[in-house]
């Protein structure tokens, strides 16, 4: 619900932040190529969106996130369910899952670039990998945490495996799984940007490199960061909305 109490405080915080930022620029008299002020960044942000600089990069990055997130989340949920329900699979795969998670996925980005090139697919693979682990682990925990008494109740009515999954396990585990998706969706933005740093034609990560390098347009760099942040917030909000939709009303 949108109420005044929930809108006003964040807006005040934003105003304070922008004021502080502008003051810092004035007092420190930093040049624009070190720290541009919020007004300059704002103007650049609007300009980059209106003159068509930003849009193609945003489209690429969103495509990578969309593909990678869906693939990683689906694979993570399936793996998590199997690990939670099969003792054998758990024994076989758990150590490797932990080991794999200890490897910073972002360090694999150059390897992915070597194997899959620097196109949409390679970047989506990085996103999928980084989304996979938190979703898989939260799914394992959520499915293992489903109340055994409810499962016994369901068994007494002779549920099939599919019915048990659809009518008991999935709704019961959903809050936990959505928690994993919430982490995953934020990481997916990071994954896409870092993947783009390793190479690519378009994408917000590429635009950051361009702005910092050949274009040397620091306000554009900041405008890009702002765009990335907004994408992150928007995606996160979508997951939270889904969560709220499925929330069980408490007494």
């Amino acid at each position: 619900m949108i109420t005044r109490d929930r809108v006003v405080p964040p807006l005040l915080a934003l105003a304070a932040f922008l004021t502080g930022w502008q003051l810092l620029v004035i007092v420190g008299s930093y040049p624009t190529f070190i720290l541009p002020g919020p007004i300059v960044v704002g103007q650049k942000f609007v300009a980059a969106w209106t003159d068509g600089t930003m849009a193609p990069h945003v489209v690429t990055t969103l495509a990578e996130i969309g593909l990678g997130f869906v693939a990683g989340a689906v694979a993570g949920m399936l793996t998590g369910y199997v690990l939670a329900r099969s003792r054998l699979a758990n024994r076989v795969a758990s150590p490797y899952l932990v080991a794999a998670q200890a490897v910073p996925i972002l360090a694999l980005a150059p390897l992915m670039a070597l194997w899959f090139g620097s196109g949409l697919f390679a970047h989506a693979v990085i996103v999928a990998l980084i989304v996979f682990f938190p979703v898989a682990i939260s799914t394992v925990v959520a499915v293992q945490g489903v109340d055994r008494r409810l499962l016994e109740m369901a068994r007494s009515y002779r549920v099939t495996r599919g019915q048990r999954l659809r009518m008991v396990e999935l709704p019961a585990a959903l809050p936990g799984i959505l928690g994993g998706l919430r982490i995953g969706v934020t990481l997916s933005v990071v994954g896409a940007i870092v993947a783009e740093w390793t190479g690519g034609e378009t994408g917000l990560g590429v635009l950051i490199n361009l702005a910092r390098g050949s274009l040397f347009d620091i306000p554009l760099l900041f405008a890009t960061l702002l765009t990335i942040a907004l994408i992150g917030v928007a995606l996160y909000s979508v997951v939270v909305l889904v969560e709220r939709h499925y929330a069980i009303p408490a007494a």
């Binding site: 008494r149 409810l150 016994e152 109740m153 369901a154 068994r155 007494s156 009515y157 002779r158 549920v159 019915q163 009518m167 008991v168 709704p171 019961a172 499925y246 069980i248 009303p249 408490a250 007494a251």
Partner: protein, 294 residues
């Protein structure tokens, strides 16, 4: 110590001559939980016949395997040896002829009362119209028609257990098993629920087997009270309750109630434990070291 041969007994009140098959028949039923490779007997060789449309109460010390016995009858746990039959046909796995009400309501918290009662019907693949008719009837039967859209969190403990009973009746089971269904309710509510349960039973005509810790409850509800020994559970006594039906709390033959309760209590003496004594308000003056197991 005394032990009546339970199988010969038939409850006098509701039996309509010789039915074709008992509602429930157990023959040599043993059950054991595996512990560290070997088995610990929980139910040790139980023979039992329960007539159709009767109410049987199981009493016995805590942890003696009463709940396990209900699960074996419901097909949720396999008997290690022996056979379980419902209406003359063996029970192999969970069975729609048996409805089981657990100690806790075990409702799906994200479903409304209506959808919880509809759960077994959905699982069984009944179409929407049939489900709606049946669930509406069932909610009316347990007096919750106005609460069909409420979720479990919005219902009282008693209402939740009524939803659970309605759910257990959804597939029209011949046998309704109740595992201390009202143990979480306060004494007054519990008394009212017992009266309601009898009314319900008069309308649905199912056989009821219930586990209880209260002798008074057992006498009020049941045609027969089966007293079980501590683990491994065996039949200590089969007490017939000679009270006419319909029974209402006000007009019971007090002398008969007292006599029957005393008889059950006597059988329990040897099998009693502290929790049981507290639950029944019956602390034996002379705890007997020897247990009365036949």
């Amino acid at each position: 110590m005394s032990s009546e041969s339970g199988r010969a007994n038939r409850e006098p009140g509701s039996a309509t001559g010789a039915g074709p098959a008992p509602a429930i028949r157990l023959e040599g039923v043993r059950f054991a939980f595996p512990v560290d490779g070997h088995h610990t007997d929980v139910i040790g060789g139980l023979d039992l016949e329960i007539a159709p449309r009767s109410i049987v109460a199981l009493v016995g010390p805590n942890g003696c395997g009463k709940s396990t016995l209900l699960r074996v009858i419901a097909g949720l746990l396999p008997a290690r040896t022996g056979s379980v039959e419902v209406e003359g046909r063996p029970v192999a796995g969970p069975d729609s002829r048996v409805g089981l009400v657990f100690q806790e309501p075990r409702l799906l918290p994200w479903r409304t009362a209506f959808a919880n009662v509809a759960f077994p019907l959905e699982v069984a693949g009944r179409d929407r119209a049939a489900r709606e008719r049946r669930v509406t009837d069932l909610l009316g039967l347990v007096g919750l028609r106005d609460w069909s859209r409420a979720r479990p969190a919005e219902l009282s403990g008693g209402m939740r257990q009524r939803v659970a009973i309605a759910r257990a009746l959804a597939l029209e089971p011949a046998v309704l098993l109740l595992d201390e269904p009202f143990s979480a309710l306060d004494a007054l509510t519990r008394e009212r629920f017992n009266v309601e349960l009898l009314r319900l039973w008069e309308r649905i005509g199912a056989t009821i087997v219930l586990v209880t810790h209260s002798i008074a409850e057992a006498v009020f509800l049941a045609d027969r009270v089966l007293v079980l020994s501590p683990r491994p559970a065996q039949l200590v006594a089969d007490v017939v309750v000679n009270l006419p039906r319909p029974r209402r709390p006000g007009d019971l033959d007090a002398a008969a109630v007292t006599r029957t309760a005393a008889e059950i209590r006597a059988h329990l003496e040897g099998a009693t434990d502290d929790a049981f004594a507290i639950a029944t308000g019956d602390v034996p003056a002379h705890p007997q070291p020897e247990q009365a197991i036949p």
